[in-house]
Symmetry: D2
Subunit: 345 residues, 4 copies
Amino acid sequence: MIVVMKFGASDQEVAGVIKRIHDTGLAEHLSQGVEHTIIGVVGQTFPELRDMLEEMSGVEEVIPVSKPYKLCSREFHPPDTIIKVGGVTIGGNDIVVIAGPCAVESEEQLFKTARAVKAAGATILRGGAFKPSTSPYQFRGLGKQGLELLAQVRKETGLPIVTEVMSVSEVALVAKYADIIQLGARNMQNFSLLEAVGKIGKPIMLKRGLSATIQEWLLAAEYILAQGHEQLMLCERGIRTFETATRNTMDISAIPLIEKVSHLPIIADPSHGTGKWYLVAPLALAAVAAGADGVMVEVHPDPDTALKDGAQSLNFDNFRRLMSQLKPVAKGIGRRLATLPVEKS
Amino acid sequence: MIVVMKFGASDQEVAGVIKRIHDTGLAEHLSQGVEHTIIGVVGQTFPELRDMLEEMSGVEEVIPVSKPYKLCSREFHPPDTIIKVGGVTIGGNDIVVIAGPCAVESEEQLFKTARAVKAAGATILRGGAFKPSTSPYQFRGLGKQGLELLAQVRKETGLPIVTEVMSVSEVALVAKYADIIQLGARNMQNFSLLEAVGKIGKPIMLKRGLSATIQEWLLAAEYILAQGHEQLMLCERGIRTFETATRNTMDISAIPLIEKVSHLPIIADPSHGTGKWYLVAPLALAAVAAGADGVMVEVHPDPDTALKDGAQSLNFDNFRRLMSQLKPVAKGIGRRLATLPVEKS
Amino acid sequence: MIVVMKFGASDQEVAGVIKRIHDTGLAEHLSQGVEHTIIGVVGQTFPELRDMLEEMSGVEEVIPVSKPYKLCSREFHPPDTIIKVGGVTIGGNDIVVIAGPCAVESEEQLFKTARAVKAAGATILRGGAFKPSTSPYQFRGLGKQGLELLAQVRKETGLPIVTEVMSVSEVALVAKYADIIQLGARNMQNFSLLEAVGKIGKPIMLKRGLSATIQEWLLAAEYILAQGHEQLMLCERGIRTFETATRNTMDISAIPLIEKVSHLPIIADPSHGTGKWYLVAPLALAAVAAGADGVMVEVHPDPDTALKDGAQSLNFDNFRRLMSQLKPVAKGIGRRLATLPVEKS
Amino acid sequence: MIVVMKFGASDQEVAGVIKRIHDTGLAEHLSQGVEHTIIGVVGQTFPELRDMLEEMSGVEEVIPVSKPYKLCSREFHPPDTIIKVGGVTIGGNDIVVIAGPCAVESEEQLFKTARAVKAAGATILRGGAFKPSTSPYQFRGLGKQGLELLAQVRKETGLPIVTEVMSVSEVALVAKYADIIQLGARNMQNFSLLEAVGKIGKPIMLKRGLSATIQEWLLAAEYILAQGHEQLMLCERGIRTFETATRNTMDISAIPLIEKVSHLPIIADPSHGTGKWYLVAPLALAAVAAGADGVMVEVHPDPDTALKDGAQSLNFDNFRRLMSQLKPVAKGIGRRLATLPVEKS
């Protein structure tokens, strides 16, 4: 932490800052510039110290130097985190494709979709049983019944399941059924929920909040890791900007940036990221080319009749086309699509 | 709801859309333009219909015409909602000033602040017992002990209390102590929490999410009102923009806009809105001039040592100065500051 | 300028940075922290140095300490800049009201409006002869004919004129007619134009760009002042955010912030800032309460038929109402509305 | 254009709107909904009409249906625009790589870079002679001398040149040297400049403004095409968002979206888009995977000493590595990198 004193700060003001630093058990390092006196804080600082110093008389600015997160940083944990779910590996050289309907609507819709995405090469099934909805009047998922349908379809297809949990009271229930517990964008800073899922021990996918900086996202991840949890992956799903032509703006640069600063696997969700089905395939390809460890896309047997997010869902033909495009692009960057383990007969 | 067909859409595509409309029990109204065929949907539409129609062949765009919220709209409930809390009226002609520390830190800090803001003319006390924190390593409030201190200080001063609840499991506890339950910006779309507090029957203050549109904010309010709750006020506290000179960008235009479209009282929080104590007074004055029903400001006996958000807190002198500025501005727009009811001896 | 070395940077890397600093004729000040080595750069730094250092091996970050602007800073020029235009003073205790049509459309429209706003108490007339337009197919102003009409109406009413210049080739022409030359939001970083108007010697109003940070805005002002120009005022007119309920988001906090860091007068334009006529008065009042030196509002005899920006224009009645509200609010903060000098008979 | 009347609008108000429509020579189509009366405007509407109608009594909203641009739309001109520059084709199946220094600094720097990028497979050389700079105190390019150096290096290498023009007065000069004239992000709405370059007849590259919507960008393109110009390409270079970890947020989704709605070629500039050299390659690969017709990257012999934007420049090794990654990704999506025509000896 570096304290920059105002131009013309008095000796007394400088002494005041140094005293405050000493009071908190830290040491200082003084540096007299032409325009500004700079005081480096030496020792293990803590976030509140910034506010405490920033408001002192004569202080221009306090600049934190160390990153505020630790457990999720690449410096703290240099090797990639690798997560294994039902024989599928996430975060290694293989790229996973997670596909399925936005919401579980019915047995028929779910089974048809699961069979189709498996046949096309998807390795994990997505499907929402509890759905966040901006309006209290919209469809909000089948709940427990949806979870049971997911368990049935997993039994038939062997596809591991990722599904969202929305409140602390449902964590135990969802954890019983899910292979990967998803935390949605709106809950990225629902700190009670972060801590609750962090205690369960199941793999977690943490989506980026609509207006979360990458640093805030990693701090949210830190909440989970601070529970002793390790099997965490992140999911970029678009941020909110002034552009209205797309539902959100997919921040593809977050993918290589996360890879640089963190050891956690990073998945891309171009369905929510764009909100338009005809942009899903180009953005899925872009995410893989930029280094994503996987993509998650919404697929529906008949997007026109979907109860939720039909506009951003691929039909089966479009999904098969996407899979056939993903393979050569993955190969182009020296990776390949993950496959399900061969079933023993 | 209006369906705009693509330039050159076929008769078959138009017929398909009309059939889908009929299938949902609604009627259509066809209009042939020079460039586009327009189909009006007649009857009580529902949000999913938009997605269902938007993805049909030949459809360019589906435009919702009715607003998606109802209970919180001015059309549905023309008179202003007026909330009474401990003898103080919110949403009428008087302007309430809510003041106090960001977080309850100690008995001394809380009592000193409460006495000072009361003496200066504040009518409601704010103070956080459960504090959201971006980082798991920061101060997160005194919890139940903080609530008890708030109850003690209310007993002494007569000031009603507003304090935040962060998770469903703490709703009952917080409701026991609070006069107004605050829902923070990060929880604006924590739908389980919205429904839980909506069932309690205590006055609620719903803060705007950092990246929430006004419409999303009103839809979150709708979640609460849909529980049969009525005593709800909104609080503008700044939105996230590209500007980094302030912590957030205070959206003052939201104040008269909310007043136009909704009957709910609207409070402004310039402390979180700006993040800098020297901007708090100008923005509080601006909010009142723009029509806010109240302002909520952070006050601390010694902002330099505050455990939370000291940089945006006023000290007692600055708060007294603000109060002396608020009075003539309130008068200038034909309103006045609320006062506590006279205590009987 | 402060260079933060990476955790574990080698002695050789530190030496490399120090050598580069010496090579540019500056000195260094070394500080060894627990996690990071910090190198302060001592002497008059220059902006390119940051890039030069930031990319060196072992460097984590380079933090500029001095502000990048000088001439427009309050530190460089502590007293307020005061501008006199036709007997009206801008930047002192009085608050100016600038009013008039978005675009000059006809003699009748302009004269009717000028008389009405003068009668209601406005002290400066606005009116565009050259109009920026997002589309090449929209109305783009009457050009020279518009300027001549403005000159005629000034002769009759005594109101000084503010009008926009859009390209270097029109600077001389516009300067011949205008009392204050306006630089629009889209041209805030049209550096050729900034330099061209800075050489003219007439008062200038520099609008904030739609996505300009306050620092970029002040750097644009710096371009003008660097020509030796002094009579410059700034104009906040809303920034671009994710919110679509208003045309732009009026950044009211920019007003007291500019006042703190710069000596230049600051005007608010709530017409462009909100895009909705019914928000203009509340935001004009808010801007004055927050410390603006003036407001600029669009007024039109018949907003419904305006060729440009009718939706955000006040009619005469609404403008008179606004004037009657501005007076007590200005009084409430210890200021008053400016008046035209008494005409000699 | 569709006029949505307010709930409860009177017959008189509806009649008023219809009269206004008739007055402008258009016809109407009335549709009575359950909640709202809808009036479709039949005939060739014009943008001002929206404002004219939106402010009429009883009108809730006016919704434009036709897109506001025409010449640059895919509907108006279905086949892709293909531009030929010095034997290189832009907008066809081949992907062009444009590389070179941000600013021309010296003969040595330019020639070294040009030879290196040509050897690595680049087909067009970029280099700025006139440079926009946020601050008046920063390096602003070599001007005419820079253009002459560019001409010399083109003679030696055969690489066509793209270079920026910043003001109308320099258009003729820049056009004399450039093969492709670049319009920078800050000038995207410098309408005088758009029209001036549109009259020259040389290929143009129009960069997206920092806060420009895709629609505004296409309207800026429309200004150029409206001059009768055809050889125009667009360049996505990142937009301004709240995220500060990258210089801008690269909007990769704009690439397939532009391809869908417009016939103009689209180039991606990940150097400005990210501002960090280590993100340039992943984002260049992403852009190509998403369908870009080319990428433009900054390359410098020694980024550490670059006078401009060193932090985002690749050195020669990194550029060669990028080229070797681009080839298989281009192949993966069925395209290939463009090559220079074979020189005759």
